[in-house]
Amino acid sequence: MIFKYKKTNPDAMKNSGMIKTSSNLNNSDNASNMNITQLNNGETAKVVKLYHNNKLIRKLEAMGIIPGTIITKKSSLLSNGPIIVEKGQFQFAIGYEMAQKIIVVNVD
């Protein structure tokens, strides 16, 4: 599924490397940034960014899934099925496409 942005999102474009800024010219961290679907089951990670263009993402933010939060990917169901995520006591599942909008970085 292709992400369709309703308006140009310069942050996202900078992060994806499409616009070169001083931060990402030198920043090789972008290569290690990944989204939740790319984590292994049981891996813990820190949320780096959420792509904002969606009601659900904003709802997740209201629940405390924001940059800086530590989350664990509990499991994923079949190929491209929903991803189950855990934050402290709070467990929830989101669709695969949504999960791709949550950018994380490994903490271990």
Partner: protein, 568 residues
């Protein structure tokens, strides 16, 4: 009279707390989204009158859905806020708390599920929390009914908080509160937590789903049949029937007799309200309705349903739906009446309509299924299996087409929260069952009576026999079925399982049985489900869907007939 609103995240126990405070019984369950309408009740406490209002839960005052808007309006409209919090999920709940505090209304915070904090090794410093939030904080266990009196007596102390935070820094402020107030102890996973993890595991989830589905069907069938054979049927034939026939026969007017008890002593053929109507509603449909809600209530309170929705989500995606639609469809395996009622929880109309068509097309209700399987076995397993395969295939194709035609609006993305698995309280289960039973008698029973009355009129006016004669020839040509089947098809509207039983004396061959069964399953919904459908979707949509499905049924059965003719 001051208005007090119970505000909080979904699934924190607001409705149960509402029940405890007002003594008004409501349906509660262990998953988010149980409450979709508002409930209110008046109480008097220490000579003060209050109106307590319960509504849907919300995560934030920013509106995300129509139910959120409802909740928001109730809160804005209230005089006092009781913010109900899940003590085992303090951090997430505090987001709404701080937003509510900023509304500058008198407020109390209620720490619900307090009894679970000890099990989970969570300690919360209440005094500290009160200081930081600047409102009273009261621990409560709605489940165990403790702390409710303390909560009520603290209403007079509800205060407008002077808390100031910068919205941008809100989460770090919350983190700060948590650090000051909450201590977590490491402890071993309980059995419930282990079960919960298993149901969320990719393979474990599928195994649990299969296990739950099969046991549900088994239990419901067992209970339903047991209730019918050992309780309701004997009650009807030995007590009720002779009594009512006797009573009505005393009425001197033939016409009234005809309406009330119909022409023949057999309740299946009489079309009398007090005979057929009561028989269908009470003896045949209700036991399954009851048994299903018995098992379903348990699954609800245990917290299993969101887990099932996740496992089935991928599958339902192909049908343009989400995992949450699986719940009504599962219900539909038992009886379509609760299945249709369960679609109320779905987020938009499109999902509702698609789910309902799926329910109507895919499987026969349990009583009809039981008949098909037991009678079909004489034709061999292959015949029975092919019936279900054809039904499943037609349902998928029909839904696929409907999906294409009925364009997606803004399809809600899949999200579900997993509540902790909890051992259901027998008392609450019984209470829920009672509420649903009362609902059945108040809503479904009258509908069935009306349906029977209608059939009675049509019969008396000889319209029924007219229709029957009319369709005999076409049925024979198109479907290859004998003309005797025509009255059975008309009868199908009233009694879906009896109609299958009536196929027996016709000595059909296996192809005819397959075609006849599929026709009887799909052609019309039974009277109870039709009226429930009308109630859920409104009469025009209901008739449109029914008409569409009837047309599809004719198509499918005619094609099957052609197929059999050509191949065999």
């Amino acid at each position: 009279m001051r208005k007090i609103v119970l505000a909080g995240n979904p699934n924190v126990g607001k409705s149960l707390l509402f029940s405890r405070i007002t003594r008004i019984k409501t349906v509660t369950a262990n998953y988010a989204g149980t409450t979709v309408e508002t409930n209110s009740g008046d109480i008097i406490y220490h000579e003060n009158e209050y109106q307590i209002i319960d509504g849907p839960g919300l995560y934030s005052l920013e509106e995300f859905s129509t139910t959120d808007q409802i909740a928001l309006d109730i809160i804005k409209d209230s005089d006092i806020i009781i913010n109900v919090i899940d003590s085992t999920n303090l951090e997430r709940n505090l987001n709404l708390t701080i937003q509510l505090l900023k509304m500058r209304k008198p407020m109390i915070v209620c720490l619900n599920f307090w009894e679970e904090t000890t099990h989970k090794g969570i300690t919360i410093d209440i005094r500290k929390l009160e200081q930081l939030l600047d409102v009273p904080v009261i621990p409560v266990s709605a489940l165990q009914s403790t702390g409710v009196t303390e909560l009520l007596s603290s209403i007079q102390n509800a205060r407008i908080s002077k808390l100031e935070t910068d919205s941008n820094e809100q989460w770090s402020y919350i983190g700060n509160i948590i650090n000051n107030v909450q201590r977590l102890q490491h402890r071993h996973h309980t059995l419930l937590e282990r079960i919960s993890d298993f149901t969320l595991h990719p393979v474990g989830g599928i195994i649990s789903a299969i296990f739950v589905l099969f046991s549900t069907l088994f239990i419901v069938r067992f209970m339903g049949e047991g209730l019918i054979n050992y309780v309701f049927d004997p009650l009807y034939s030995k007590l009720y029937s002779p009594f009512i026939l006797d009573l009505v026969n005393k009425i001197p007017f033939d016409i009234i007799q005809g309406i009330l008890i119909g022409q023949s002593p057999d309740p299946l053929q009489s079309f009398g309200i007090l005979t057929s109507g009561v028989y269908i509603a009470l003896i045949q449909v209700f036991p399954y309705f009851f048994s299903f809600y018995f098992v379903f209530g348990f699954l609800e309170d245990f917290g299993y349903l969101p887990r099932l929705a996740v496992v089935l989500d991928k599958l339902f995606h192909r049908l343009g739906l989400h995992g949450y639609s699986s719940i009504p469809v599962i219900l539909g395996l038992g009886c379509k009446v609760p299945a249709f009622m369960a679609t109320r929880g779905l987020s938009n109309r499109r999902e509702k309509i698609l789910t309902i068509s799926l329910i109507l097309m895919s499987v026969p209700c349990l009583s009809q299924s039981a008949m098909i399987v037991s009678l079909g076995m004489r034709y061999g397993v292959l015949s029975v299996v092919s019936i279900y395969v054809i039904l499943a295939a037609s349902a998928i194709i029909f839904n696929y087409i409907l999906n294409k035609v009925y364009k997606k609006g803004d399809a809600p993305e899949f999200f579900t929260e997993f509540p902790s698995c909890r051992v259901p309280s027998a008392k609450l289960l019984a209470q829920k069952l009672r509420i649903r039973t009362v609902e059945y008698f108040a809503e479904v029973l009258p509908m069935i009576a009306i349906g029977v009355l209608l059939m009675n009129f049509l019969n008396a006016l000889h319209i029924l026999s007219f229709i029957t004669d009319l369709i005999k020839k076409p049925i024979n040509i198109l479907l290859g079925l004998p003309p005797e089947i025509a009255p059975v098809m008309v009868m199908n509207f009233l009694r879906k399982d009896a109609s299958v039983a009536l196929l027996v004396p016709m000595n059909l061959n296996s192809h005819q049985f397959i075609i006849a069964s599929i026709f009887l399953v799909l052609s019309t919904p039974c009277v109870a489900s039709l009226f429930t459908l009308i109630k859920e979707l409104g009469i025009w949509t209901a008739l449109k869907i029914t008409g569409l499905i009837f047309f599809a049924t004719m198509l499918i059965t005619s094609m099957l007939h052609l197929f059999f003719k050509v191949i065999f």
